[in-house]
Symmetry: C2
């Protein structure tokens, strides 16, 4: 049977690094296997696994950052609360694109949403004795579970695809009613499935967060990237990004510059903590830190202890990009709509060659084309090829991805991203998928 | 009695923020009090409390960072292990200025030594069941204790000033022999006292770290800043910075760019993990992370979960500064010797006006003038004014500092820094100290 990479090149390497089941391999281990295969065979992989911006960083950000460096900010510790300009523009951005009012003082820069979430897990899990468990509304970003593991926090999770609309409330309540959930986390649009929780579902989540006094961590890494919705991403004009912040005071929104502004390399996000949660006092925090306000502990204890703030020059870049977006000068959504174009073409190629989209619909509507997509393969007997096996077999054909099992998904398939797929790779992809399908369809 | 700031301006503000004892105030609260007083009275404070570089950032770093931004690195996630150029130059720097051999792969950029230490506390405290306590060789940097508090780790500490030379070994052994110390931490030169542990003392620490299998976290934030020693800071030439890395394989050295390169604003350091410790396998890490090597867990679990690495452009700045220092093009020690000049003048002013240096000698020799200094005031009855009270009274005279009690010190006094004191402030300082002394000397 013809493959692109000799099977033994893949198998020998996996054996060498002691991987027998790709469900248990890290993205780094899979990448190492690919790089070895590329080196040995000279064949370049279709890198569906790397969720890295594939368009240039915002020039507005770069210019502002260089100007800040010329002003000498590199020697001065950044204020742990963030530079005033960034805080002001972050609050303005939240109003412009989400239509939520938030005090600028409650918007804190973080070293990426990764740090913002880590700090949020710390603060939420220490605020109320007995509330010690994070509820993951899956599928999700595997590293957010690694964060809880690093901190020794308890975890609960479920695949939301099976509990949409009116099923969501009862499912959530079955967890929240136990009283041990300190926070819930999801991304919307969803990484990896690109499902989008609706306004009505967010209302359910918000109401239950209030009822059971649980903090919602809303990861808006892909803000406005539901490309089915016309008109999103125009400042101060509806429609707005749907958000749980419309329905509860128990929220922290993570606004990352990585994907929306293609600024992933510089590690910056803004954690936007609701005005009420920020000012709320917790006895356990007072006892531990001699500071009782949630937001103050988040900044002065968690963020301070983790890195003493965010690189000074990068804060100026973020402030400039947020401002330009609010001013209507920087149409960031137009730039990132390139991902939807690429994903549409990749999905068509997959569908032409016997693959299907694992999470294909969103309450009956097809999911949007966006940064990530999911795909699986049905065997001749009609069953899904198991996800780890699918990745293993696709590696022989020079195609990668990450197994959905690592995202808390119950479905068999892979997550892919088109972010770095160029148009000239599309015929290569088509041919490899064709060969794979030929080999597996009988 | 004449004061610079009306007493009620200070006292009313402290009452408002519920501070009755300045030993329990944070640096931020004290700063808020000063800023209020400056606003009310128009009098500028002598800001002894702010440990911020007072010289411009390295232009070599700025240029390299701007060039990296122009190359578009802002959109690409930095490799979690660090860019190859930085790793190579960090290992070279360790050889050039400390004369320790280390594999470049074991040098990891972090968002400041703050992140590097936080990650080290995580890794060290999880590696061996039962080893759950950090031993602080005090006096030290208060935030390093806050880090343990955030993580819920146990702490032990002692003031090393009372246990120098041959007393150090038995004192350390009294802690280490209990078997619960996972790591020891100190900075050398010491923040705040500017004492310098000697080569012989580091040999003692290293031998005991090996004997009791404890990791030494050596904070080299002030590398080469023992300005009593001629010839330090010349690449690849003795004398070298003394370091525990010469005496044990159980070390992590933190090399921060904040003070030595005046790059504090950009939050970058390099954690240099000994070759043997990096490769050492721990069962508890294997069980928790499915990775057993200490260094791999440090990078792929701790640093990854905390921020997904360090801002990409900043890594290029650090690499360029390290390289220029190794190449002998950038005489960083000459630049920072400005702190010693300022501190010498400030100390003379203190001594002329009835103050004394709290930690004045270092095994019989006067401590070096450097970034930080310590000072106290003796009452007419010959006793030391209590540290919190000293700060309180100095605030009336427009002078600030941090109370030594917050550093784990057993002495009554304050920590000061001359880093941002300009020559035109010296007569102002002299006059204020004179007034203070006049008011308190009888």
């Amino acid at each position: 049977m013809e493959t692109i990479i000799p099977k033994n090149v893949i198998d020998d390497y996996l054996e060498k690094i002691e991987i027998t089941d790709l469900n248990k391999a890290s993205i780094r281990q899979v990448l190492a296997c690919e790089m070895n295969a590329e080196q040995v065979t000279g064949q370049k992989f279709i890198h569906f696994e790397m969720g890295v911006p594939g368009i240039p960083p915002s020039q507005i950000g770069i210019n502002a950052q260089k100007e800040a460096l010329d002003r000498g900010v590199a020697s001065k510790y950044p204020n742990i609360e963030g530079i005033p300009e960034l805080k002001e523009q972050a609050a303005r951005f939240v109003k412009a694109f989400i239509n939520t009012d938030i005090d600028r003082n409650h918007c804190h820069p973080t070293c990426g949403a990764m740090q913002g979430t880590f700090a949020a897990f710390l603060a939420c899990s220490q605020a109320v004795p007995g509330k010690d468990t994070i509820l993951y509304i899956d599928p999700g970003f595997p590293v957010q579970k690694m964060q809880a593991n690093v901190l020794g926090l308890k975890m609960a999770s479920f695949d939301v695809a099976d509990f949409r609309a009116e099923k969501l409330g009862p499912k959530l309540e079955s967890y929240l009613s136990k009283g041990n959930i300190c926070s819930m986390i999801y991304s919307n649009p969803n990484n990896p499935s690109w499902m989008c929780l609706t306004d009505s579902e967010l209302q359910t989540i918000g109401a239950l967060a209030t009822k059971y006094d649980t903090v919602v961590i809303e990861d808006l890494a892909y803000l406005t990237m539901d490309f089915r919705r016309e008109g999103l991403g125009i400042p101060f004009q509806p429609p707005y990004q749907v958000s749980v912040s419309h329905y509860t005071d128990n929220y922290i929104m993570m606004l990352s510059g990585s994907k929306i502004f293609s600024y992933a390399g510089e590690r910056i996000a803004v954690a936007c903590i609701s005005d009420k949660l920020y000012e709320r006092r917790f006895d356990a925090l007072q006892e531990r830190y001699a500071i009782s306000r949630f937001g103050a502990v988040y900044a002065y204890d968690m963020l301070y202890a983790m890195s003493s703030g965010v690189a000074h020059s990068v804060q100026y870049a973020m402030a400039a990009m947020l401002k330009a977006a609010c001013d209507g000068i920087y149409d960031f959504r137009k730039d990132i709509s390139e991902y939807a174009r690429r994903t549409k073409l990749v999905k068509q190629s997959l569908l032409r060659n016997g693959f299907h989209i694992s999470y294909d619909t969103d309450l009956g509507e097809l999911v949007s084309d966006g940064f990530f997509f999911t795909f699986g393969y049905k065997l001749p007997d009609g069953t899904d090829m198991e996800g780890g096996q699918l990745l293993h077999e696709l590696l022989y054909y020079g195609i990668s991805g990450i197994v959905l099992s690592s995202t808390g998904s119950t479905r068999q398939g892979l997550r892919g991203t088109s972010s770095n797929i160029t148009d000239d790779q599309l015929p290569v992809l088509e041919e490899r998928l064709r060969l794979f399908n030929q080999a597996h369809s009988k």
